[in-house]
Each structure stands twice: as C-alpha cells, then as structure tokens.
Symmetry: C2
Subunit: 338 residues, 2 copies
C-alpha cells in the first residue's frame, strides 16, 4: 500500500501470533486430529471436499481462540478440543456456502471446492460439517456452550442474508455495514471466545469480557480483510486483490469513499459495483479514488479502534502469558494490513 | 396408475390421517405459531423465503410425528412443540438446499425459492433455519434429544452427498439405493419419532420402537414418492411427474427395471439418465418399460413391507387412540400410490 500509519509500540515489537500458537499447540494437535477423524465418511467425496479446504492453510485462528480463552480461564478438562473443532467446522461450512453464494473461483489461493466438485457438493458438505459440529458440541454436554454456538450459527446466516439483500446497494451506511460485519464475521469470533469461560464455569463478567474481546477482534479482522482486498498482495493474502470489487461488495473502503466523493465518482461506483460493468483498469481507478479520500487508512484506523477495544476487554483478567498472547493476536490481525 | 394391488382391510377402511391430525391439533397450532415467530427477522428476505416454502402446503407429517410419539409415551410437558418446530425447520432447510443441488424449478407446485430469490438466498435461508432449529433444541434442554437430532442432520447431509456421488450411475443396486433413502429421508422421520419417548423419559426399548417405526415409515414414504414420480398426477402430488427422470435420479423403479431389462433398455436408461439426453416422448417410454417389468408395483410392494414393519414396531405399545392414529398414518402414506 505504501501508506504509513503509526502503530503502538507493543504492536511494532510483537506482531506475530507465535506466542499464542505455542501456548495452544498441544491442544491444537488434538483439534487437528479431531477435525481429520470427524471429516471421515464412507462417502469419499466428503473427506475430499472438506480436506481440500481444511488443509489449505487457514490459520485456524478461531479454534485457537477457544483453546486460548479456556486456558486463560483455568479450564483443565478436554471439552475445549471438541468445541474448537466445532468452531472450525462452522467456519469451514460458512466458507463452502459463501463460495456458492459469491460464485467465487478461488479460496485461499486454491480453486474453490465448487469449481472442482460443483456447487452441490459445496452446499451438502457444508451441511455435513455443520451437523458434525453440532454432534461434537452435544458430546461436550454443555447446554450453555451449545446455546452460544447455535445462536452464532443463526446470526451468521442472518448476517449473510442481510449482506445479500444489501449487495450492490450504494446506500449502505457505515453503521449498516458494521452491523453486517458483526453478524457474519464477529459472531463466530465472539462465540469461539465465550465458550472458553463457559467450560471453565467462570462468572458472567468473564464470559462477557471474553465475548467482547472476540466481537471486537472479529470486526477488526474483517475490516483489515476489507482493506487488504484493495491493497494487499495476492501472495500474502492467498486470494486475489480486487475480489470484493469484482463481486460488487460494498465494504467499508467503498462506503467511506462514497461518502467523501463527488458525482463523477458516484457514477464510477454505480457502474462498477451496482451494474457490474467492470473494465480492466477499473480496480486501479478504485484504488486511486480510495487513496484520494484516505479510505483505506481510515478503514485500518477503525480496525485499530476495535483492536484497542478487544485489548481493553481483557483488562478483566490478571496478567498471564495467555493474556499477553491474546493481546499479541490483536496486534497480529491489525499488522496484516501493513 | 391402473395397477391393482390388494391392500389390508385396515388400510382400506382408514386411509386418512384425520385421526392423527385431530389428536395433535392443539399441539400443531402451537408448532405453527412457533414456526412463524422463529422465521421472523429484521432481514425481510428471511421470512419471505422461509414462508414461501413453509406456507406452501406441506403436510407437516414430521412435526406431527414428534407430537404424536410424545403423546403416545405420555409426555405432558411442552418441549415437544419446540422439537417439532425444529424438525420442520430441518426439513425445510433440506428442501431449500435440495432445490439448489437438483436445480429444481418447482417445489410443492410453486416456483422453487431459488427461482424467485436465487440460489444464494436458498442456501443462506436454509442455514438460518438450521441455526434456529438448533437454538430451539437447546432451549428444550434435552441433551439426548439434541444428540438424536444433530446426528440426523449429519446423516441426512451424508446421504445427500452419497446420492450426489451415485447420481446418474446405472450400477446402483437396490441395497445401495435403500441405504441412501434410509439416510436422506428416513433419518429425519426416525429422529422425529425418537425424541417423543426421550422427552417422556421412557425406557430404551420404547425409544428403539419409536425410532424403528419412524425409519420404516420414512423408507415407505420415499418409495411411494419414487413410484408417484412415474405415475401420480401432477395435481395430487404438487410436483410434476417425471422430475426424477429428467434430473437423472436413479430411484427404485429404475433400479428394478434395469435389473430386469435387456440391452436395448439399458441403452435407453444410459442415454436418458446417465447422459441426460431426454426427448419429449422418453418419459412415456420409461413408464412403458417399468410397466413391462412390474417395477412400479414392486416398488409399492416394498413400500408396503416397510409399512408393515413400521406397524409391527408399535406392538411395543398398548392399544390407544394415538397408536391407532400412527397405524393409520402408515396406511395413508402407502395409499398415496393408488
């Protein structure tokens, strides 16, 4: 991007999630084993499709958050492993269904499953993973955790339908867009973080703190993704820059540019995003317009504000290596934009 | 059809489900209210899509079975209403996703939701209904019922993927086909019936009896559907005769015809079902071939065998008006074929 935004000292020193990865590493080995075994089926297409996506190098940030918050709260059982695997299955099912909805060709730098096995397989294998996710949650036996995750499943789908209804609608406001992000992305982060203290039978204010951390981190994460779609590099993101633009998605950089632009620019966004008439040079023009209005920097600045809120939420917990690791994770998510 | 198959006296006397409908009527009023309230959303597209399908005149046989088995087992709480609504939501979600998978134009005699709102809406509203279904199950608070329904969700999707893998494959055996039917159709009937005795805290053998009733009834129901697709009337079925044929589905009438046919007939099925080259006169030819081999009658005969097994399963219960109503329901499902 070439944009220089000052960062906090802490973020500049530790932008990795190495500390988090190390602390949850034993649990994640069991989560990965669980994921492999629960995608097994006599129906060969199921492990083929599921593992195409699952093994394609996602960071598994969401299941790590479940293990991390459980550990932060002193949980010593093994229910966190199955809930973490459930969270990853819910996420994978969402990705499979999103690809069908968005008619995406690529996902994480590989051909989308729907391009290899068809839309049908993406829909049905997604459904299978959701079913397996709920089976694992039931096995853990916490009705409170089940309630949080079932609620997230409904909210995520509701957010996706909302986004679909608002697609290609230039009247989308910043507030409206953030509500969609809170539903479609942050709800699963929030649930992933809340089941940790639930398993550990911690009091309500710690549940609320972990949930708040997850919500804010999820919003920050999505806003950075939105910024990267107009400025990251294809290699580092694993998907093509400009996907959102070509799919006519109204993300925050667009919302901010629209609010600050003139009639000529509005005509440009109308033609490209609403009418879908995209020419080769249009992505570069979109980036120029965003640069003119500081829309990418301000998207990142808003992400940083949510990141700060995520860190603030953890003040409910005493200092610990895991708390530091969770603070690092926030910095890592923000630092992807640079 | 014009096919005359002798039926048992009981079936001939009472082929309606009027008795069942009457006995569960107070509960179903509450189920319908629950369904309406749980499809509510600020996102207007959700109630639009959901109610398009939900209000389009399905018989709601599955939720009736949940209420009926709960009542059969003496349950007096109100958890059956939410579980029955969950079962209907799971079924509706499956229909929405099936339409996308099958590229269906029609559903229950109306335009399929995907034709009106697009594949995207069908996928996502299906996901929303699944999420709402699990939320209601959690509210009921029975982990055993949750386990049964979550397992059904995974098995249904697995069966659908299996069917997708086997689509257009003339090598499908009767046994293989019945295994798919047991997964994709009978699993939800079985779960709908098993949660009744679970809520009533009845012993394992009554759970097994209700489950067995549901499984057998579900298979019988699907086989009759398969027969109707080659012989029912569009008006009475609410979908076009020949849908399965045009979609290249290998159902039991085809499996039986294939096993009994010659090379010329095999070439016909290969061209129409495997290669999808269907001409206007082909459906009539398919029906002639099936008539020649008695494939429809034998499909119905097998359905009757499963129907008998369903009735037999209820011998675990003493006579009661509800038991009679559940026996009637079996006869009703079979009688649709005539």
């Amino acid at each position: 991007m070439g944009v220089v935004v000052p960062m906090e000292e802490r973020a500049r020193e530790q932008t990795g999630i190495d500390r988090l990865v190390a602390l949850v590493s034993p649990g994640m080995a069991r989560v990965n084993q669980m994921i492999l075994s629960r995608t097994g089926s006599d129906v060969a297409m199921i492990p083929e499709v599921a593992n195409h996506l699952i093994s394609s190098g996602g960071k598994r940030l969401r299941p790590m958050l479940t293990l991390a918050t459980a550990q932060l709260c002193g949980y010593e059982g093994d229910g966190d492993v199955k809930l973490a695997a459930s969270v990853e299955f819910m996420h994978t099912a969402t990705l499979l269904h999103d690809d069908v909805v968005d008619e995406s060709d690529m996902r994480r730098g590989k051909l989308a499953a729907r391009m290899l096995w068809g839309n049908e397989a993406s829909v049905l294998v997604g459904d299978f993973l959701l079913g397996q996710a709920f089976k694992m949650m039931v096995e853990v036996g916490s009705l409170d955790a089940l309630a949080v995750l079932a609620d997230a499943a409904a909210v995520i789908a509701e957010g996706e339908v909302w986004q679909l209804s608002a697609a290609k609608n230039l009247a989308t406001t910043e507030q409206g867009y953030l509500a969609v992000v809170e539903a479609k992305t942050a709800a699963l982060f929030a649930a992933a973080c809340e089941v940790g203290p639930i398993l550990a039978a911690r009091p309500a204010h710690e549940r609320a703190a972990c949930r708040s951390y997850g919500t804010s981190l999820g919003i920050a994460f999505q806003l950075i993704d939105d910024a990267l779609d107009y400025g990251g590099s294809s290699a580092s993101l694993g998907k093509n820059v400009g996907d959102d633009f070509r799919e006519g998605k109204i993300t925050l950089p667009v919302v901010l540019s629209l609010a600050r632009g003139d009639e000529a620019e509005r005509a440009f966004w109308h033609r490209t995003l609403e009418k879908g008439e995209v020419r080769d040079e249009d992505l570069a023009e979109a980036q120029r317009i965003m640069r003119r209005h500081g829309a990418i920097e301000d998207t990142i600045a808003r992400a940083r504000t949510y990141g700060d809120a995520a860190c603030e939420a953890l003040s409910a917990f005493p200092d610990s290596p895991m708390k530091t690791a969770l603070l690092d994770a926030v910095a890592f998510c923000i630092a992807r934009a640079y």
